[in-house]
Each structure stands twice: as C-alpha cells, then as structure tokens.
C-alpha cells in the first residue's frame, strides 16, 4: 500500500538525506578536505541539466514524436565537443574576474554595466520561471498520480483546487525551504556551494538509476529485451511510426540542437555548476565526455518506456508524461513506482535548488544591490558588513522565484506539455549566447550592441513565444495569435512578417536570434566602447594568453600600441637598441617581425621589465601605464583605478617631464661630445697643417744651406740667389710663426687690444704707404677712392692697419699680372664704416667665399708662380674685424676680380666742420 503519508515520509526522508549530504559536503569543504574535488562529481553535477523534463517529459515527447526528444541532449554534446574554445575559456574568464553568474559575466564584459546585469537577470528570471513551473507541475502531478495507487488515474487540474490545498504550491514552498537551506546557509555568502554540488551529484545518480530501473523493467521485465519490445511495437502501426518515417520531418532538429547548445552554457543553473562551482579546470577534460555519456545512457530507455506505455495504455487515457510512473504502477510494482517517484523528485529538486540559488545570486547582486547602493538605502554604502542583508535578499529572492514559478504553473502551465514549457525557457536563455560568445571573441563588441541585441531578442521571444502561450491559456484573446494584433496579419506572432510554414519554436528562434545578433553587431559597430569596456573586452578575449598569471602580482592585462611602447623604450635605451630588442622579442616568440599595431599583454610586460632595469620597477610601471591601455592591478580594483586615474596621470606626467628633461640633457651631452670630437679633429688637423706650413720654408732653407755648404765653389750670382731665397724663406717662416702665435692669442682671448677712437683716413694712408713697396717692379695701379669725411671707429689702430695691409697685399698678389688694378674704397654704408679692396684678378668662386677666411685655407684655384702666403692673413683679419664688432666678407668686384670688404661700427660721426654734415646734432 502506498498511502500519501508514506509517500510524504519517503520523500521528506530523501530530501533530508540530500540535506545531510550537502551539510557533510560543506563541513568537509570547510575542513579543507573537499569531497567534490574530482571530475566524476563535477560531471554528475552538470547532470542537473536532466530535470523532470528528461525524467517524465522525454517519454511524453517520445510517445508522440518518436526520436524528437533527443536533439535536446545532442546539443550539449556538440557544445562540449568545442569545450576547449568555449567552456574552458568561460571558466578561465570567470576565475580571473571572479564572476559568479551569467548576469555578472555579461555585465562585466561590457564595462561592468549595471543596466546589462539587470537586463540579463530579468530575462533569466522571466525565462526560467516556466522551467521552474515545469518542475512543480511534474512533482505535484507525479505525487497526485502516485497517491491513487493502485489505481492509475490522472489528477484533477490544479487551478480547480484552492492554492493552499494545491500540491504544487506545497511543493514550491518545500523546495524554497530546501533551496534556502542549501544555498544560503553560509553567512560568508561565498559563491561556492560544495555541499549543494555534492547533493546534486547524488541526485544525478539517483535519478539515473531510477530511470534505468524503470527502463530495464519495461524492456527486460515486460518484454524480452529490445528486440522483442521493438518487434511488438512494429506490429502496432501507430507506434511503429514513431521510430520509422517521421511525418513532421527533421526540420526542427537543428533548431532544437542549437537551442540546447546555447542552453548548456546560458542556463543560469548550468553556468552555476559548470563554471562557478568548478574547482579545477583539469576536471573539464573528463567531464566533457562523461556528461554526454550520462545523457546518452539516460536516453537509451526513453523510447522503450514510451513504447511500453503506449502498448500498456493504448486508449490514451493516461498522460504519456507520466509513463515512467504509471507503467510500474499498472504492473503493481509498488517499490519501483516509488523509486521512480523519488527519481523524478530528484530531477526536479536538483533543478529547482540550483536554479533558485543561481537566480537569487543574480537578483541580489545584479538587480537589488545596485539599486539599493545607488539609492544609498539606509546609508548602505557606509555599512561595513552587508552579508546579513545579502542573505536576506537572497532568501527572499528564492521564495519569490518559486512563487513566480508556481504562479506560472497555476495560470499557464497546466494545459501545456512539459517539453513545450522547457523549450520556452531555453529560447529565453539562448538570447544570452550572442553577447556572451561574441564578447569572448570579439573585442569590438560594445555595451550598446549587447543591450540592443538582448532587448530585441527578448522582445521577439516575448512576442513570438510567451504571449501566444498566454493567449492559448486564455489570458489573452486568442484572436491575437490567429489574426495578429488589431487584425494585422503581418504581425501574427506565429507567422511574423509572413514567415509561415515553420514550427513555432523555429520561427521564434529565427526571429529572436536574427534580431538579437543583428542588433548586437550593428550596435557594436555603430557605437564606441568606453574605457572600461575596451579593457574588459581585451581581458575577456585574451584570457587564454594570460592564463598563467592568475593571481600574478604584476601582470599587464591590457594592451598598447607598439609604436608607443617603442617610443617609450627609445627614450631610455635609445632608438636603435629599442628596435633591436623588440625585433629579437618578436623573433623569439615567432611573431611577425613586422610591426603589429597592437602589443599584447606579454609584450607590455616585457617592455615593463626592460624599463625596470633602467629606471626601477615602480617608475617603469608608471611609465608603461602612461602608454598601455589596461590595468596594472587586479580586476577588482578597476573602479579604484579609475578614481585614481587623475593622480596617476599627474604622476606620470611629472615623470614624463623628468624623462623629457633627461632626454634633452642627453641630447646636449651628445652634441657637446660631438663638438669635442670635432674640436679634437680640428686640433689634429691644425697641428698637421701648421707642421706642413712650417716644414715648407724650412725645406728650402735647409736644402739651400746644405747646397751652399757642400758647394763652396758656386759662382757668385748663384750663391747670392740661393742666399736671397734662404733669407726670404726665413722671413716667411718668422712671419708664419708670428701669425700663428697672434692668431692663437686672439682665439684664446689673450690679445692686448688698444682700443681708441680712430680716424680711419690716417690708418688707410699709412697702410697704402706700407704696401707701396709690394708694387715695386710690377705693373699695378693702386688707387684710393674715399669720402672726404670718414666716420671715426673705435679700434686698435695697429690691428686695423694690419687688416687693411693684409687685404691690399692679398689683392696685389691676385690681381691681373699685366695690367693690375687695385683700388681701395672707403666711406659710410648703412650707418657703418665701410672699406673695400678691389682687384681685377680671377676673383673668388662662390663656394670658397666662406672658407678662405679659415686658417690655412686658400682659394682652391691656386695661382702658379704667385708667392705663397702664410694662409693666415685673412683668418687674422677676420678675427680683428670681428673683435671690433664688424663684419668681413668677399664678393665679386664690378667687372672682374674680387672685392674684400669689411664694415665697422661708427664711434663718432665726422667732425663738426664737415661740410654738408649736420654734425652738431650728434654732439
């Protein structure tokens, strides 16, 4: 006999056992000896995917649609095939960023957007509510069926009994209590629930064994194995159609596979067990095939049980969703029926507990707390310990979620099959997939895109799936579904924009995902990501390359432009060296040695280390921070970093200034060094040239002296000639030495200058007299063309004369041989004293006009047979003129020849008596 009280006792005892397991699991975890630290428990906890939908609903579906129950389990397998690309990356991201829910994941990826977190939470709650309703319906139905034992009678519709007497309501409350006990027992509000995981794993074993037991009983107890079962079924045409040709075709399979692929990641409870509760990434390796294997084993007996049920209740009086229970009942297998009930209870409670906990975390963290904090409710931000408040919110959320589920069940769910309810939920959470997966692989995805995509997808889900369901349940006029709102046929929710001929689910998925992805991509392209979005985008997309550095103390999780890094490096180690080390780095890492625009975090770290060697770690950090987009400390501190940004910018600005100064100083030093080197080379050159200039007259002197000495019998004329050469060369040597010394003195500033007010006319006259001897024996005319009154200059009289003599001697030397003309012009030019010495010689080529005033530089066009000068005359003249504050240069003389000119500042205008001068004005 199965009395209702005995069923209740067994059920409660089972729940207490679960709680004991959870309690034990938590105790062990607190003691540091986890019982869930292995891949088998992990894989079993993932099996929370199998709910009453699987336990009861699959059989129901198989009874009408054959293998149609299966795609929902193929999808997760396909997702797990790609686990290395998806699941593991999600886990790494979540561990690195301490993400605890799918709402957290999406909001965190898009710049910690509170709006997105709230949206995801809302969609999740609305989407999962039908799913929870499904569990409530399954448990209450199975209980109500079982209490009829040994009769097999379908229970009355819930909505006809008062709420307080409704089994489903009591089940909802009971589950809320258990979810609170499992999930919010901890005061520390940690997101790890080891005890819960252990209990879920245990439940997964129970529901599997229970289902297998029923399946085995049907297959091997009622029939003689699979062959007999299928052979029997084949004789009944209505049943055999289930596993042969399918009238509906398989067009909806891809939709179902795709939906379940998304669901295995996007369902809050799957995210909870597979990602948040993951304790070791290594466990994935086994779990990724153990979990699909669990699904496969579970599903082997679905079709046999369905066939058994159909054969047993051919009249259709028994709901196929209850076959797992009703077939053993009909066969009077009391214990098996009870076990099946416990299995179904396991499947339902597992889902409800995990989903409620996951949703409550999202509701409290992403919906209620942000609002409370923003409103600063009761000075919340100032309060230190919020865990109590947090727990209360979570407990309240759990109760609310279950009541919502119950409400949905009572008002909508009663008339709809289990699987249909579940698929509505899948379609809702599938809306998270674009923002989630896109965010892991596309850095350019933005918050605006995610919000747009989610809103559009959710709106279309609401319109094409949920509202029609409401309408079919009588809560909305059914015309809305059949004729479209306001009779607009184009807007019919099951044939939107005229898209007809698809099953409702595929139709809804097509429109919602198309709008979702379209909005997501378009929004992302058309909007610009904010700073945190960019940082988070890079962190999420590049998580794998950072995986070695979880908890690392100085890891760059950002990126920077390579050019910026190079410029930074060049500032401290020089451009060439910077080029070299970056090239080496690229080669070592097998990167394109060209210039990628964006440096990855590893390169940024590398640069930081390099810099640290030069300027110390702390400064290197700040310097790199000045060019790297990213963060230098843990993700949790992003907000603080933003607050401190201005300070950091200030600091790095100062450092940058310092480094700029350093750079300038270095440049100055480098220039000075260049100059010194130049001077050194010039000194060498000078000594070498002086040596040459001195040796040349010495050579003549020495050789003629030796000739004279060796040839005492030279004739007198020749001896006189040789002696004259010796004297001349000796004079030249003396002059040379004097001039060198003079120039050296001038350049060193040790010259004694007798600066007095000087009348240039006297000096010119004297110079002309002194040079007249040069003209002796040559056809040269020397003329003076001076203004009558010349302005006085402030000068050393002797030096001024030296300049004029030099210029005249120079002109005499170079002027035309046959009809030499040298003229001296003197006067006033532009407020300065002007003197020019013109010759009619070959002139000075423009290229030489500067260098002939250098030491030992004569025009590159030498004149054979001309007496060699010392090569210092013009250099000395320039020194003198410049000392007087004047300027000396050479230009073309009118007609032919060179004009050497200089100007000097005027010290005093012409005398008072000067005719034509208003000289008294100046006095």
């Amino acid at each position: 006999m199965l009395a209702s009280w005995s069923i209740l006792v067994v059920a409660l005892a089972y729940l207490c056992l679960l709680f004991a397991i959870a309690y034990y699991g938590d105790k062990r975890a607190d003691a540091g000896r986890s019982i869930i630290g292995n891949p088998y428990i992990y894989a079993l906890s993932m099996a929370v995917y199998c709910t009453s939908w699987t336990f009861y609903g699959s059989v129901g579906r198989a009874a009408s649609g054959g293998m149609d129950f299966l795609p929902i389990y193929l999808g997760p397998t396909l997702t797990f095939v790609l686990w290395g690309f998806l699941l593991r990356k999600i886990i790494r991201i979540c561990k690195a960023h301490r993400i605890t829910s799918i709402a957290d994941f999406i909001s965190s990826r898009y710049g910690k957007s509170a709006l997105l977190g709230g949206m995801v939470t809302l969609i999740a709650v609305l989407g999962i509510t039908p799913y929870i309703a499904l569990q409530l319906k399954a448990v209450s139905t199975s209980f109500n069926v079982l209490v009829q034992y040994p009769d097999v009678v379908m229970p009355p519709i819930s909505s006809r009994v008062p709420v307080l007497k409704d089994t489903a309501f009591l089940v909802a409350l009971l589950m809320a209590v258990f979810a609170i006990l499992f999930g919010t027992r901890h005061i520390d509000a940690s997101e790890h629930h080891e005890g819960m995981v252990a209990a879920i794993a245990f439940e997964s074993i129970v529901k599997l064994v229970a289902f297998l037991a029923v399946g085995a009983y049907v297959t091997f107890g009622l029939y003689d194995g699979f062959g007999d079962l299928f052979a029997t079924a084949a004789r009944a045409p209505r049943i055999s159609a289930l596993f042969t040709s399918n009238d509906a075709g398989y067009g909806h399979w891809p939709t179902l596979i795709l939906l379940s692929m998304a669901a295995i990641i996007c369902l809050p409870r799957q995210f909870q067990v597979a990602v948040v509760e993951n304790v070791n990434e290594d466990h994935l390796k086994k779990a990724v095939w153990l979990f699909p294997l669990y699904l496969l084993i579970t599903n082997i007996f679905v079709l046999p049980i369905a066939i058994g049920g159909l054969l047993h209740f051919p009249d259709g009086s028994v709901d196929a969703d209850t076959f797992v229970l009703t077939v053993p009942m009909a066969e009077r297998m009391e214990g098996l029926a009870l076990f099946a009930f416990i299995g179904g209870l396991s499947a339902a409670t597992g889902m409800v507990i995990v989903a409620a906990i996951a949703l409550s975390t999202m509701i409290s963290n992403d919906l209620i707390m942000p609002v409370l904090l923003r409103l600063n409710w009761r000075g919340l931000a100032e309060r230190g310990d919020l865990s109590g408040l947090l727990l209360s919110i979570r407990r309240g959320s759990i109760v609310m979620v279950l009541l919502l589920g119950y409400a949905y069940f009572r008002f909508i769910g009663e008339s709809v099959a289990l699987v249909t309810i579940g698929l509505v939920s899948f379609a809702a959470v599938a809306q998270f997939a674009p923002a989630m997966i896109g965010g892991m692989y596309w850095k350019g995805a933005t918050r605006v895109g995610a919000i747009l995509g989610l809103s559009l997808g959710f709106a279309l889900w609401l319109y094409t799936l949920l509202l029609p369901l409401f309408a079919r349940s009588g809560w909305l006029p059914i015309d809305f579904v059949e004729g479209g709102p306001f009779g607009i046929a184009l807007l019919r929710p099951y044939a939107l924009f005229g898209l007809d001929g698809m099953d409702n689910l595929s139709h809804a998925m097509f429109w919602s995902l198309a709008a979702n992805i379209g909005g997501y991509v378009l929004g992302s392209i058309l909007s610009r990501p904010g700073a945190i979005e960019r940082i988070q985008g890079a962190l999420f997309v590049d998580v794998s390359s950072h995986s070695g550095a979880f908890g690392g103390t100085s890891f760059w999780r950002g990126s920077a432009a390579v050019t910026d890094l190079k410029a930074l490096l060049a500032r401290f180690i020089g451009a060439r060296e910077a080029d070299r080390v970056l090239g080496d780095y690229a080669r070592r890492r097998g990167l394109n040695p060209g210039h990628p625009r964006e440096a990855d975090a590893a390169l940024v770290s590398f640069v930081e280390r390099l810099l640290a060697g030069s300027i110390g770690a702390a400064s290197a950090r700040v310097m790199v921070a000045s060019v790297a987009k990213g963060e230098v400390v843990g993700i949790e501190e992003v907000m603080e970093i933003l607050d401190e940004t201005s300070q950091v910018i200030e600091y790095s600005h100062r450092l940058e200034q310092k480094s700029q100064e350093l750079e300038n100083t270095t440049q100055e030093l480098r220039d000075a060094n260049e100059r010194l080197k130049e001077l050194d080379e010039m000194k060498d050159d000078f000594i070498s040239t002086v040596s040459h200039e001195l040796r040349t007259p010495l050579t003549s002197i020495r050789s003629f002296s030796e000739i004279l000495s060796d040839n005492p019998d030279l004739d007198a004329a020749e001896r006189d000639r040789f002696l004259a050469i010796i004297v001349k060369e000796t004079e030249r040597l003396t002059r040379l030495i004097n001039e060198i010394l003079e120039l050296a003195k001038m350049e060193a500033g040790r010259m004694d200058w007798h600066m007095i007010d000087t009348d240039p006319r006297d000096v010119i006259d004297e110079a002309l007299a002194a040079t007249s001897s040069l003209l002796a024996g040559r056809e040269i005319s020397l003329t003076l063309d001076a203004d009558q009154w010349l302005p006085h200059v402030h000068a050393d009289r002797d030096r001024l004369m030296q300049v004029i003599v030099n210029l005249i001697a120079n002109a005499v030397k170079f002027c035309d041989d046959s009809r030499g003309e040298v003229s001296v012009l003197a006067g006033q030019l532009g407020g300065r004293f002007y003197l020019g010495v013109l010759d009619n010689g070959p002139g000075v080529p423009p290229d030489d006009r500067q260098i002939i005033f250098e030491k030992f530089q004569e025009s590159s066009e030498p004149l054979a047979d001309r007496p060699r000068g010392t090569g210092l005359g013009l250099a000395i003249s320039r020194q003198i003129v410049e000392h007087f504050g004047g300027r000396i240069w050479v230009e073309d003389a009118p007609g032919r020849g060179a004009a050497f000119c200089f100007t000097l500042p005027i010290s005093r205008v012409a005398p008072v008596s000067a005719p034509g001068m208003k000289s008294h004005e100046a006095l």
Binding site: S688, I701, R702, P862, A864
Partner: protein, 125 residues
C-alpha cells in the same frame, strides 16, 4: 744616355733646390708644378724617377702615384715621395700605392741624392 728625374712640386724654391741637386748628380731634370702636368709629361716623355710631392694642386701625389702604377708600361719608373706631413699614415699609404721611397721634408740633400742614385743604380752606358 743620362737618366731623367721628374720633379713634381709646387713650391718654387724647393723645385729650385731639387733641380740643382739632381742636375749636379748628373740627371736630366724635368719639372711639373701640379699632378695633371706630371701625368701629361710622363705620357710625352717618361722619366726614370719621379720626385713626387704629396700636397699638390689639382691632383695630389697619391693620385699621381696610383696612376703611374696602374700603367704597366711605367713599371720600371721609380717613385720617391716627398711630404711635409710626418704622419706614419702618409708613409704607409704612399708605400701601399707603390712608391719606392718616402722622404720627409725638410730633407737632407745628401740623403735625397743618394736615395735617387740607389734607386736608379749605377749609370750604364
């Protein structure tokens, strides 16, 4: 037949003394005041030995030396380089270019005469 010495030097007084010394030693003397002239004179009438100053207008002594040595028909021509610059570098460069001797100014008249005589060897009739 007396042997010819080409004096290539731009300082008139030094040309004077070298001409005197070479004539006195019994050589026929040709004079060029710059590098271009020296090469031209060699082409019209090759000398047996060249007294070659380095610091010359137009084409310096090194270039003249290189040019002479690049023409196989002048292989037998001896080259004595004269320089007022005493650097070892100049000496090495001169010898590398194929000069036979290198004399620094101011030179000893006896040294330069014996150097030329040694290079040309005893006079053959």
């Amino acid at each position: 037949m007396s042997r010819t010495v080409l004096v290539v030097e731009d300082e008139a007084n030094i040309v004077d003394s070298l001409s005197f010394l070479m004539k006195q030693a019994g050589f026929e003397v040709l004079v060029a005041r710059d590098g271009d002239t020296a090469i031209r004179m060699m082409q019209s009438r090759p000398a047996d030995l060249i007294l070659l100053d380095i610091m010359l207008p137009r084409r310096d002594g090194y270039e003249v030396c290189r040019e002479i040595r690049s023409n196989p028909s002048w292989d037998s021509v001896r080259i004595v380089m004269l320089t007022a610059r005493g650097h070892d570098f100049d000496r090495r460069k001169g010898m590398q270019l194929g000069a036979d001797a290198y004399i620094t100014k101011p030179f000893s008249t006896r040294d330069i005469v014996s150097c030329v005589q040694d290079l040309l060897g005893p006079e053959t009739s």
